[in-house]
Symmetry: C2
Subunit: 210 residues, 2 copies
């Protein structure tokens, strides 16, 4: 279990940080699949360095975003402690989308538009039960109609995210209107029929690639 990875040489550590910073900035604007070469060039290193440090893109994504992902998990935990479950749900969704608004790449990651790094998968495993709990409480309190499922909440997340993606370049706040629509929709739509299968939510967050 002790995986003793010897520490990096000082120059290597400097390059590593530089690559991470550069990759983060590029991905914030261009999305997750910026070519490795672009990152290396922007950071002023060779591609070999890139590959030595992050042999798989997954490695890069993990290193880049795990902090942010933890932040989002924190939001879910905080929301779960709300007395007002409906408010907790709305607050959580808004916080999560605000994070995504900061970085296109992070949005793609959190919404499963990538061979989701493990971090993300684990994040959803942690957050889904919290959301499910909030939904159950909100339904019990009459804040949401019966029939709303975690998959509907995930769908709402995707829905607002799609507007964010589509409008980033020319109307960076339009997603807030979409969020209001989605939240009001969950509260007022009739979702009592054709409940989606339990497995749908995992697919939604993990089967998007290609």
């Amino acid at each position: 279990m002790s995986e003793t990875t010897p520490p990096l040489r000082r120059d290597a550590e400097r390059n590593r940080r530089l690559l991470l910073r550069t990759a983060y900035e590029l991905m914030a604007v261009k999305g997750l699949d910026v070519p490795y070469e672009d990152i290396a060039r922007a950071a002023g290193t060779g591609m070999g360095t890139m590959y030595r440090r992050f042999p798989q893109r997954q490695d890069l994504l993990n290193a880049l975003f795990s902090e942010h992902i933890d932040t989002v998990i924190g939001f879910a935990e905080q929301a779960a402690r709300y007395d007002d479950a409906g408010a907790g749900l709305a607050w959580f969704l808004e916080r999560q989308l605000e994070v995504e608004a900061q970085s296109r790449g992070l949005g793609e990651l959190l919404r499963g538009r990538s061979q989701a790094a493990e971090v993300v998968q684990r994040a959803h495993e942690r957050m889904t039960p919290l959301v499910a709990g909030l939904i159950a409480r909100a339904v019990a309190a009459g804040q949401l109609p019966a029939g709303v499922t975690p998959a509907d909440f995930a769908a709402a997340h995707l829905m607002v995210g799609s507007v964010m993606d589509a409008s980033r370049a020319f109307a960076p706040h339009l997603w807030r209107r979409a969020l209001r629509v989605a939240l009001a929709g969950l509260r007022h739509a009739d979702l009592s029929g054709d409940a989606p299968d339990e497995t749908v939510i995992d697919h939604l967050y993990n089967d998007q690639q290609k």
Copy 2:
């Protein structure tokens, strides 16, 4: 103006139809950017034939989808004649999405996820005023709250479409729940503030590529 294009030789015409049929089927499943080579191979022709007939992908898209697009325009016109404007809007959005559910490629086209073929651009030019009129009537009749704009309707379209795209493979009807959420949301959300610019709707439908 008389653009006299001589008719195709009989064998060429046969190949053209074959390519169109094949392309339609592939794009229904794989989306608009199926490689030309895949289409040619599936149709049993060479790529030369593909390029001779459809030098630009646009040409292929126009030939493939203009009929369907006309159908959708027809839906918009029919909706515009509804007495009940709110019902007209809901009916139109559902018809359009049903068409998109039949073909992934057509969905990408109608939602601007491509260097939109001219057909599509013209379609939106025709439909947007009809939708705007319906919205105005629905607001006047108290079926929609003041503040709803055509851009919000377009956003709702994108929103449901994103759920459709995300769930096609494992929950092909999930989008109908999303549609109910979006429609209920438009009816109940507070959209009175920060109205989007008039130009936003064009960007939404035309600036998605890359």
